[in-house]
Amino acid sequence: MASLKELRERIATVKSTQKITKALQVVATAKLKRAQEAAVAAKPYASRMSAVIANLAASATDGSGPKLIAGTGGDKVHLLVIMTAERGLCGGFNSNIAKMARGEIRRLMAEGKEVKILTVGKKGRDALRRQFGAMIVEHIEMRGVKVGGDIAKTIADKITTRFENGEFDVATLISSKFENVLTQTPTLAQLIPAKAPEDAPVIDLEGASYIYEPSEEEILETLLPRYLSTVVLAALLETEAGFQGAQMTAMDNATRNAGDLISSLNLTYNRARQAQITTELIEIIAGAEAL
């Protein structure tokens, strides 16, 4: 049985831990609202963009279109862009993404493909470094970086440059989809060759064909890199919102756990104190009777 002093110290420790988890929870709740709004506000643009791309991709299926849509023709080398949060203390959020990434890496390797990894966010790199360290070609640090168009463009440009240098054939993004505050699901999305999501609305042109100004090629050339950065931005925003949601839930649980622990420790402490008093009393009484 722990001594009274040990118990007292233990209670103090748990209490200060609870203060930290509580503070983190409050911060996450406040940040979540903003992150969620940003993620929701960015959706119309992303979905319209997918619709436009779906439209264009449909007309470029003969393989003559730009490489970003048509691909290199091969699928030997895969680039996995793995997007996680920069920090932990958010339950299974990061590890779920890492788990999916590991599964995908193994699957591709079993098929005899070459895998390259680009990590965005520190936790993803930490999780994969030990097993697949040699495959990580680049890491993008998100610490202190404002999530927005600029960083999305930087990431998208890095991917495009690697593609143009012929470093890979297929790029896939693994990130977290923000379903709601409680649910974040890791998802896979193919970035290059650009493939519109299956749920993108198909536009019926009613028999007419598009007029392009300037030419179709020029439009595609400017549109595709922008599409890529839109997808990256949407993923970044959803990751941010998902992270805050996951952290809020995790810290809420941790705070509650700490509360439970404190009350059970308090109970033990009081019992021990009572037992000690009783023992002392018995000793005094026994001593008095012996006289």
Binding site: A51, I203, Y210, E213
Partner: protein, 131 residues
């Protein structure tokens, strides 16, 4: 024949407009164009300029910085890189931003940042000219 067309104007940050309109004028890369109901499918890049949304209640001018316009039988969509309603422009803040961008653009040092600032300055000046 339908006398309105569905129009939506979105920027990466938010959706600025979505609804039925009578007509939209937009600054295409190869010249200004107007879109009325029953327009043929059409896609173009945009240059910085003013998009005018004609509604029953009047005309709303919105400044856009580049982007795409996509006309389909379902309606017109403008994907703008940046967009702001002219009515929402704060002139004093804009002047200040132009001043900041100008000093950044002339700041020796980081080449990338200078280019970005010059880009920003061009946009801000175009916006001021549109007011």
């Amino acid at each position: 024949m339908a006398d309105t067309i569905h129009f939506s104007l979105v920027s990466p940050e938010r959706e600025l407009f979505s609804g039925q309109v009578k007509q939209v004028d937009a600054p295409g890369a190869e010249g200004e164009f107007g879109v009325l109901p029953q327009h043929a499918p059409f896609m173009t890049t945009l240059k910085p300029g003013v998009v005018r949304i004609h509604e029953e209640s009047g005309v709303t001018p919105v400044f856009v910085r580049g982007g795409f316009a996509d006309v389909t039988p379902a309606g017109l969509t403008i994907l703008a890189e940046e967009a702001i309603r002219l009515a929402d422009v704060d002139v004093a803040a804009l002047e200040q931003e132009i001043e900041d961008a100008r000093s950044d653009a002339n700041d020796p040092g980081n080449e990338d940042r200078r280019a970005a600032a010059a880009d920003r300055l061009a946009y801000l000046e175009a916006l001021r000219a549109a007011l």
